[in-house]
């Protein structure tokens, strides 16, 4: 019973420091799985290992039956795993539309010569890229007026949405969202929640790191809880809410008076 994504005994050390140890869990196709845990628990490190920002020190990452740990990042994107970043990483002087167009890279093929000669095939491909980019900007709720703005000039919340649009442009089957509502107010958080629902409706499986518990509890089918680089619990939101180990990780001593 292996899922779309399987982590098998994944470990990551930085020198003598263990950031992840012996992490194993599966994500089934179509699920929204939340990754929660205190700051420094290893959540973003997990994303970085899955997307090959750095390789795992131990274990392996399997996507759709194929071992992807060891592949370069662009190859993992091409196989259908994309992500957003905790601290937004847009191409800030490029336009909003161009940012999403960059995300189409691995689904298109025009090289130097076709690009320079502007062959009919290339023009059709560019049109397709632009059309898809606009479609995705609509999906994430960015307006037509924003298309030609520099990405860096967008308000913060819109930058987060733009990053999601760029990640979707590669037609992922698994989308990794790293704190998509960090720093947002309630109304914006609700918007992102609805966006996550729309993305799921497209058939995209989602792995979500988030500190906003109301969002996590509402949006996720299952949760995986990290603390000090280890997985301490896994289950439905209701199970996790009542798990004493999780409460301890978040609030300190077990059974403490203020828990």
């Amino acid at each position: 019973m292996s899922g779309l994504l399987s982590l098998r005994n994944v470990g990551k050390w930085f020198g003598g420091l263990s950031a992840l140890s012996d992490i194993s869990f599966d994500v089934q196709s179509g699920e929204i799985v939340g990754v929660i845990g205190p700051n420094g628990a290893g959540k973003t490190t997990l994303f970085n290992v899955v997307t090959a920002v750095f390789p795992p020190t131990a274990g392996e990452v399997v996507f759709d039956g194929e071992r992807i740990s060891g592949l370069p990042p662009h190859a993992i994107t091409k196989r259908g795993v994309t992500r957003t970043f905790q601290n937004i990483r847009l191409f800030s002087t490029m336009t909003v539309e161009e940012n999403v167009m960059v995300g189409r890279h691995c689904r298109t093929g025009a090289g130097v010569w076709r690009g320079v000669l502007r062959t009919r095939e290339e023009r059709r491909e560019e049109q397709g890229i632009r059309g898809k980019a606009r479609e995705l900007l609509d999906l994430v709720g960015l307006s037509v007026a924003d298309r030609d703005r520099a990405a860096g000039s967008l308000p913060y919340g819109h930058q987060r949405r733009l990053e999601i649009a760029r990640a979707l442009a590669a037609e992922p089957r698994l989308l990794l969202l790293d704190e998509p509502v960090a720093g947002m107010n309630d109304a914006e958080t609700q918007d992102v929640f609805r966006l996550i629902q729309r993305v799921r409706a497209l058939g995209v499986t989602i792995l979500l790191i988030e500190h906003d518990m109301s969002l996590v509890m509402k949006a996720c089918d299952r949760l995986v809880v990290f603390n000090f680089g280890r997985k301490i619990a896994e289950g439905t939101p209701a199970e996790i809410r009542d798990n004493p180990q999780v409460i301890e990780a978040y609030l300190g001593s077990a059974g403490g008076s203020d828990a």
């Binding site: 990483r89 847009l90 490029m94 960059v102």
Partner: protein
């Protein structure tokens, strides 16, 4: 006819402007993926020497020699580009500068092939070859109202103009294509670019070797314009000069280094009457630029404004 008044000296300055513009584009292309290469003088020497040797020792036709010289420089770019991937910023600049200097030492010392410090003379000059070819077919430059030397300089200038226009058009189009977007993405944020599915290793080596190929192209054109090359043409000063084209003109739009090359090639000539002071002025100009317009004279915002006011629609 107005052609009679053509001054071969002005045409020659114009030719150097065009060769330098191609060199300016060569550093721009590599920089457009965020890699600063100071090896372009070295790659230029590869193109120049290859073209010169092919035409003087093997009687290869000039266009074939220029093509071969460019491709050889591009291949050298791949060989230098791959190990250079580990380096970035100033370290890459130092390594590529070192490559250029090593290459120059080879040119000086491999006397049997390169003629050593003296260099290679009597390289067929494009203009003269074309004139001889035309005269064989009963043409006389006098029919255009031109002296022979005017015709020669004009021919060289026009060939270089065509080469420069093609080069700029090629890379302008490339910058607005899928590959150009990949370059821009890598320059802005490598991590985000690879997460977006761009194979950054491939594109960085591609851009590096494109820059090398262009430098080699400029070098081969230089050899067949001046008919003489020596290691002294490809020193550290040349490498820095190419860098200054991009720094002064601007490195974020292809017109920047091309403009920088034109301006900085004409300026010293225009300042000949006060030649004792011209490099002082040159230096002051650069300092002023660094203070008031560090991105260079031409940046994308300026190009956009110019387009809008000109009523031209961007492609």
């Amino acid at each position: 006819m107005p052609l009679e008044g053509l001054n071969p000296y002005h045409l020659q300055v114009g030719s150097f402007v065009l060769i330098n513009a191609i060199l300016g584009v060569s550093i721009y292309v590599t920089l457009s993926t965020g890699q600063l290469s100071l090896g372009n003088a070295g790659f230029m020497s590869i193109g120049a020497y290859a073209a010169a040797l092919l035409s003087t020792q093997h009687q290869v036709p000039i266009p074939v020699g220029i093509l071969a010289g460019s491709l050889l420089a591009g291949a050298a770019g791949i060989l230098v580009g791959i190990p250079s991937l580990r380096l970035s910023g100033v370290y890459l600049a130092i390594a590529t500068l070192g490559f250029g200097e090593v290459l120059r030492a080879v040119l000086i010392n491999w006397e049997s092939l390169t003629g050593g410090a003296v260099g290679i003379a009597a390289i067929p000059q494009m203009g003269r070859v074309i004139l001889a070819w035309a005269i064989d077919r009963g043409f006389s430059p006098g029919s255009l109202g031109l002296q022979s030397n005017q015709f020669i300089s004009l021919t060289v200038f026009l060939i270089l103009l065509l080469c420069t226009i093609l080069t700029v058009a090629f890379f302008l189009r490339l910058s607005r294509s899928r590959v150009g977007r990949a370059y821009a993405a890598i320059r802005q944020d490598e991590r985000a670019a690879e997460a977006a599915g761009i194979p950054i290793t491939y594109y960085k080596v591609l851009a590096f070797s494109q820059g090398a190929l262009l430098s080699g192209f400029a070098g081969a054109l230089f050899a067949h314009s001046t008919s003489f090359v020596s290691p002294g043409d490809f020193t550290y000063h040349r490498a820095v000069e190419i860098l200054v084209f991009a720094v002064f003109g601007g490195s974020e739009h292809i017109f920047g280094p091309a403009f920088g090359a034109a301006f900085l090639t004409v300026l010293p000539e225009a300042l000949r009457p006060i030649s004792d002071y011209r490099y002082i002025l040159y230096g002051i100009l650069l300092v002023v630029m660094m203070v008031f317009r560090p991105q260079g004279v031409i940046d994308p915002a300026l190009v956009r404004r110019f387009r809008r006011s000109g009523g031209e629609t961007p492609a």
